[in-house]
């Protein structure tokens, strides 16, 4: 922790002690953040925290931020959120899917506090939801992965079998297969968002089985390190750029950029214009960024990937465009049809060609 954050946190603490609940015009707006991992995870939480610092940067003295890291997604979450609300926070960002019910429960008790829940689907008058269309980035990853694999075997470290993760697998697979019909995916379910030891084990096991591309939907850089150790394996940064592993094994990345959204929402609280909304932004608005594609990627593949990115950003191309069948062979999307957001949000099936089952 640097001195600046420390200073602001202490200031926030003293201030909150004297001015609980009192949100008058002269007071800074207090924004709280609940994180599922440590701020140094190098991935998901790291990016949320970076956006918190961006909020501080943007508003200076007009805002104070507090955060709590590594909050488990069970009963502890509700207490952590309540304590944050009690400490006088005006807006609280709960940044993991598992905080959904706790967020709704606390929001009921604090009608004057605004809540923002990431990646969930339950809203209330004072609860908004927001997420990013990570599957757009997965399409580009899939394209690069499918073009570059030599063994035609791609490993995927998945976290939990929730629609967000399943969407990512489907999107990556569809686009890998498009450039390489022989490609095969092996999905490992780690049942964690952040556990470097477990993630490294999963990566090593996949590499030993001949997978020469490792995709991950977990937050640590451990799989990158495992791939580096093995050599001749490529990976992609997850949630954060993970540029320290470039140019190999990390050949590109999906970067979550929450800063514009957080600044926007804190501003809305300041202006008194905050309303409950549901935001789901992708590459176009800049919530999903594609990290630099390194020279380890052949030039023509890089060019195709960038063109794909462009067409997704402009809205010309939707990563889920029919014909697409479900794993069991039944038709999901007809020729030319694109997936509805409703279908994507509740996605609980693999597309045709993926092997294995979604654990249940």
């Amino acid at each position: 922790m640097n001195r600046r954050t420390l200073f602001t946190s202490v200031a926030a603490a003293t201030l909150a002690a004297t001015a609980a609940f009192a949100q008058t015009d002269g007071e800074p707006v207090k924004a709280g953040f609940i994180y599922v991992g440590p701020i140094g995870d190098g991935g998901w939480t790291y990016e949320h925290n970076k956006a918190r610092l961006a909020v501080e940067e943007e508003f200076g003295d007009a805002v104070e931020t507090v955060y709590q890291e590594s909050v488990p997604e069970g009963a502890d979450a509700e207490r952590a959120i309540t304590q944050m609300a009690l400490s006088g926070a005006d807006i609280i960002f709960t940044t993991s899917f598992g905080y959904m019910d706790p967020t709704i429960a606390v929001a009921e008790k604090f009608p004057d506090v605004k809540f923002e829940h990431a990646t969930g689907y339950k809203r209330a008058d004072n609860v908004s939801t927001y997420s990013a269309r990570f599957y757009e980035g997965r399409a580009i990853q899939g394209h690069i992965a499918g073009s570059m694999t030599e063994t035609n075997k791609i490993g995927y470290i998945a976290s939990f079998p929730i629609p967000e993760v399943i969407r990512g697998i489907n999107s990556a697979y569809l686009h890998a297969k498009k450039v390489n019909p022989d490609v095969e995916f092996s999905v490992v379910w780690a049942y964690t968002w952040f556990d470097p030891a477990k993630e490294a084990d999963a990566a090593r096991a996949l590499i030993e089985n001949g997978n020469d591309v490792i995709l991950q939907h977990t937050d640590s850089t451990a799989p990158q390190a495992a791939a580096q150790e093995a050599g001749n394996v490529i990976t992609f940064g997850q949630a954060s750029d993970m540029a320290e592993y470039a140019p190999m094994p990390r050949v590109s990345s999906i970067i979550d950029d929450w800063a514009p959204y957080y600044i926007d929402r804190v501003k809305a609280v300041m202006d008194g214009t905050w309303e409950s909304t549901d935001t789901w932004d992708g590459i176009g608005p800049g919530m999903v960024g594609i990290g630099e594609i390194t020279d380890a990627v052949p030039a023509e593949v890089k060019e195709e990937a960038l063109a794909l990115k462009e067409s997704i950003a402009s809205g010309d191309y939707h990563p889920f465009t029919g014909p697409i069948n479900r794993q069991d062979g039944s038709v999901w999307l007809a020729e030319g049809e694109t997936a509805s957001d409703g279908d994507l949000l509740g996605m609980d099936f693999y597309v045709e060609g993926l092997t294995g089952e979604i654990p249940n």
């Binding site: 609980a20 706790p102 629609p163 979604i358």
Partner: protein, 361 residues
């Protein structure tokens, strides 16, 4: 020269003194650590130990939360302590806790949305049975084949975690949950909700059961013949056998009790504070309870106090993160110190320092 000399009898004084000393040492060394992190150590210690109880802004909420957090820890630790006294090391309470939650919640959900007063008692019973059954696996393997219960019970935690992931995303998944994993929320189903008994106190059935368990364990261990047998088995297994104690029965009894209590704790947690079966509702209570059991010297009253102290460091630690910006890892380090110093000072219970040369035997 300073040497450690074994005491003929464990010192009564040191038995009581070591936990206090461990807490003081933790405060001291922890304070130094906070100072290095740039936080005022006195303020950090005050935030951790004082604010959850007396801070006017938070205490109204955090005081009841102490009971919520301590309840499952005490309930599980009481069960574990009985086995530990007999030298039976159930390290897998986390797994029994998960299985209790799954079985109890599953039994309840089978009757959704019925509205009967019998549902919740049935769920408690099934929760206890679930934990009991999971503990019987290491128990029976130990009795039959002489396997090591430490390994078997620990490994079964991972099995339980995978079962949890499976039922949360399939068998017990909320049919109205849009495909997301996680069961129905018990808070929205009064017949199965483990609500606060008196609003605003944090007292739910799990806390009540924890207190009852403390009393029963006290009676068992100090007044009942089985308690004597358990202690004898732990302290002098050969003597116990000569006295006619059946070691197999002790194994089954100890693992059974600790499994059932852990299972109940899981059920109370999932129907109360956690609210639903989700992929990771278990927050490591089964492992933390091992620390609580030792911190409480394996004595029921000690465990009661240790559970509350542990809860205090958790909630105070959260407040320190929130108010002072102390990193989460520093809080974990602080809690780790507590156990470390307890074990370190524990030496003085069984040994005394002696200065000078060794006396002839």
């Amino acid at each position: 020269m300073i040497r450690l000399e074994k005491r003929p009898q464990p010192s009564q004084l040191w038995t009581v003194l070591t936990p206090v000393l461990a807490v003081l040492l933790t405060m001291l060394v922890g304070g130094i650590m906070f100072a290095f992190l740039g936080t005022d150590p006195l303020e950090a210690i005050r935030t951790i130990f004082w604010d959850p109880l007396f801070n006017p802004q938070f205490a109204g909420f955090t005081r009841p939360q102490l009971l919520v957090k301590a309840g499952p820890l005490i309930l599980i630790a009481i069960g574990l302590s009985i086995g530990f006294r007999a030298g039976i090391w159930n390290i897998g309470a986390e797994g029994q806790y998960i299985m209790g939650a799954i079985c109890g919640a599953g039994a309840g959900l089978a009757f959704y949305p019925a509205d009967s007063v019998l549902i919740f008692p049935l769920m408690i019973l099934c929760g206890a049975l679930g934990g009991f059954a999971w503990a019987m696996i290491p128990a029976l393997l130990k009795v039959r084949f002489g396997t090591n219960e430490i390994l078997v019970s620990l490994m079964l935690v991972y099995v339980a975690e995978n079962l949890l992931a499976s039922v949360a995303s399939n068998l017990l998944r909320n049919p109205e949950g849009m495909g997301f994993p996680g069961s129905r929320n018990f808070k929205q189903w009064p017949a199965a909700h483990n609500a606060e008994l008196i609003s605003g106190t944090g007292m739910h059935w799990g806390v009540a059961f924890a207190f009852i368990a403390v009393i029963l364990a006290y009676v068992l261990m100090s007044r009942h013949i089985q308690g004597f047998n358990i202690r004898l088995t732990g302290e002098a297994p050969r003597a116990a056998r000569f006295a006619g104690v059946n070691p197999a029965r002790i194994v089954i009894l100890c693992l059974g009790i600790s499994g059932a209590l852990a299972g109940m704790a899981g059920l109370f947690e999932v129907t109360g504070p956690a609210g639903q079966i989700s992929i990771d509702f278990n927050s490591g209570y089964g492992f933390t309870a091992i620390i609580v059991a030792f911190l409480g010297r394996l004595h029921p009253v000690g465990i009661l106090l240790a559970g509350l102290l542990m809860a205090l460091t958790y909630i105070g630690g959260e407040l320190a993160q929130l108010m002072l910006g102390v990193p989460g890892a520093a809080i974990q380090l602080f809690q780790g110190m507590l156990l470390f110093f307890l074990l370190a000072t524990d030496v003085f219970t069984n040994f005394r320092l002696s200065l000078g040369r060794k006396e002839p035997a």
